[in-house]
């Protein structure tokens, strides 16, 4: 299995008043191609911070994080943006859809940044919306959709460029049980069919029940890293 993320002795400090708050302490782990893994732990355990650093939205204070052979801490803003634009997909707890864009335009947005032709974009967007079952909502705006539908749009937006890795931060936190399962099944299907890796930050049992690897974080440290041979879902 090819390693796509290599976290080496990562420490992340945030300035608080005159001192620092350490969100991650000497964390080391790796993610391989095709993983469906989760960073699990209570609030403040450092899940989101780790996800942000892997996503090149933040940089390590100490240690190194290598994503697809690129050391996140050493990337220029332009190189980090290129990494996110071409290789990474993001799914957020509150969907973060662009409110004035339609479903089609939201999903199309990452492709616009990749300078694809209008024809290619249309084809790719429609195909992706088909995966998430939203072809009948192309002209709707986020405000006209349910929470589950919004999150499916967010998944489509993350998947439309066929990223190597999707980082999902509490993707089911705002969804009811039924929608949560629908979303997770969609993501699992995409993981299995497209071999896209998924890394979740979550403390939701529903998500945990789908994971093939669970990395438990507590107070910024990895306390357990287990492979699940047979996820409960």
């Amino acid at each position: 299995m090819k390693t796509i993320v290599d976290v080496k002795s990562l420490t992340k400090n945030f300035p608080v008043g005159a001192g620092f708050f350490t969100a991650l302490k000497d964390v080391s782990l790796q993610f391989n191609e095709g993983e469906f893994a989760g960073l699990v732990g209570p609030s403040g355990s450092g899940k989101t911070t780790l996800l942000n650093i892997i996503g090149s939205l933040d940089v390590p204070s100490k240690g190194e994080v290598v994503v697809l052979q690129r050391s996140v801490g050493k990337l220029s803003p332009k190189e980090a943006a290129k990494l996110r634009k071409e290789e990474l997909g993001f799914i957020f707890q509150s969907y973060n859809l662009l409110p004035v864009y339609t479903v089609f335009e939201n999903v199309e947005f990452p492709l616009l940044l990749l300078n694809m032709t209008a024809e290619e974009r249309k084809e790719r967007v429609m195909e992706t919306l088909k995966w998430v079952g939203l072809t009948d909502k192309v002209k709707s705006r986020p405000a006209q959709l349910s929470g589950g539908e919004c999150q499916r749009v967010a998944i489509a937006r993350a998947m439309v460029k066929r990223p190597v890795l999707v980082l999902a931060d509490e993707p089911t936190a705002n969804l009811d049980s039924k929608n949560s399962h629908n979303i997770l099944q969609t993501m699992l299907k995409l993981n299995e069919e497209l071999k896209t890796s998924f890394v979740f930050a979550t403390h939701d049992e529903k998500v945990i029940s789908y994971l093939k690897r669970i990395i438990r974080l507590e107070d910024g440290k990895v306390v357990a890293d287990e492979l699940i041979a047979k996820p409960s879902k």
Partner: protein, 390 residues
């Protein structure tokens, strides 16, 4: 291109707020063009009127003549050069003799400039043919403003006092044989027009003049003791005065522009505060912070383009009206302004004015949009995604 596309989508998606800003900005566009157009029209009309009523194709001034210094009038009175004798007969050159006098309308005393001109001249539009009327008194014509100020009317008779070239005071009755309406204050305010030969006789200045007005059909020649002043030179002061007035007027369009810019600045500032999550998401999706700054600057700048299109729709008929029908100021008196000014002012809207205004507003709008967008460069994207960066 993709930047314009995404920015345009965001702008249109903002709905009513966008269209309100566009409307306010389009008012600035249209008003600036109209006001500048009127000022350009005013300049054009001022020059044309000055040429028709006062300047013709330029003037020879006796070298000591200074219109702003009445003490030069006596010393600048000089024999008309012999070389112009035929031209004067053919009305290709019109001599004007200028001296000071005093009139006594209703027992009041009022200083005036007496200007002698050939009654059958046709270089200027002043209706001097009335001066041919045979009267017991000296015939004079005057402008309507002067007549109103002195409370005089057609056929009034009053006393005029003047000094001849030896300094002797003389007095005689004058009769107003013509009152003309003009837009050129310089030939109206405080001025009486008399037959040239009569004024020459009255002042013992036979064959003399201070100014020689040239016809376009006559070539300019060098004459000793006389300096030729071109039309451009003679209208220089008028244009300068219009320009000075235009500075005062520009306050209005600065206000219009400020209103538009304030609306955009306000919207952009609020937008950046409100749309932090969007900004964070754009960065997460692969835009650099610089690109997001450009996106928001472009979004703001697009207001100018929409306002241009919108302003063209409702402004074009207004431009047409202002160019063809003009705007009438019935209560405005040109003499009050001291600059030639018609009752109706027509706008002159040139491509240069439109393009200049468009570029100016586009640059100002882009700048006003950029200022709040600069904040994005300092945003932490992880905080922005959660809407907590500002």
């Amino acid at each position: 291109m993709k930047l314009i596309k995404t920015a345009f989508r965001s702008l249109i998606g903002n709905g009513l707020k966008t269209w309100l800003n566009v409307f306010v900005l389009s008012i600035s566009f249209v008003m600036i063009i109209i006001m500048q157009g009127i000022l350009q029209g005013w300049s054009k009309q001022a020059i044309e009127d000055a040429v028709r009523w006062e300047i013709a194709d330029g003037q020879y001034w006796q070298e000591k003549y200074d219109p702003h210094d009445p003490f030069t009038l006596d010393s600048s009175t000089m024999q008309i050069p012999e070389v112009f004798a035929t031209d004067i007969k053919n009305h290709l050159i019109e001599p004007v003799l200028i001296t000071q006098g005093t009139i006594y309308p209703d027992g009041r005393m009022q200083g005036v400039l007496l200007k002698g001109i050939q009654p059958d001249q046709h270089l200027l539009e002043i209706p001097t043919d009335s001066l041919n009327k045979v009267t017991d008194e000296i015939p004079v014509v005057m402008g309507a403003y002067m007549a109103r100020q002195a409370k005089l009317k057609l056929n009034d008779v009053l006393t005029l006092r003047w000094r001849d070239r030896n300094g002797t005071f003389e007095a005689a009755d004058i009769r107003i044989v013509g009152v003309f309406k003009t837009t050129v204050p310089a030939i109206d305010v405080g001025t009486l027009w008399l037959p040239l030969d009569r004024l020459q006789m009255m002042t013992l200045n036979e064959g003399c003049a201070n100014v020689l007005i040239k016809s376009p059909e006559k070539e300019v020649v060098d004459i000793a003791g006389w300096n030729f002043k071109t039309t451009e030179k003679l209208t220089e002061t008028t244009l300068l005065m219009v320009k000075t007035k235009s500075i005062g007027t520009s306050v209005f369009y600065v206000v219009f522009l400020l209103l538009g810019m304030l609306a955009i600045f306000d919207t952009q500032t609020l937008s950046i505060f409100r749309r932090q999550k969007e900004i964070g998401t754009m960065i997460a999706l692969g835009m650099t912070r610089k690109q997001v700054v450009r996106h928001f600057t472009m979004e703001g700048s697009l207001y100018a383009i929409l306002a241009l299109a919108f302003g063209a729709v409702w402004g074009a008929p207004l431009f047409y009206y202002m160019v063809e029908k003009g705007i009438t100021f019935p209560a405005v008196e040109a003499a009050d302004f001291g600059i030639p000014m018609g009752d109706t002012m027509y706008a002159v809207i040139t491509p240069g004015l439109v393009i200049g205004t468009v570029l100016f507003i586009f640059i100002v709008t882009a700048l006003v949009s950029y200022l709040p967008a600069k904040k994005i460069a300092k945003m932490n994207p992880t905080e922005a995604i959660r809407g907590k960066a500002l």
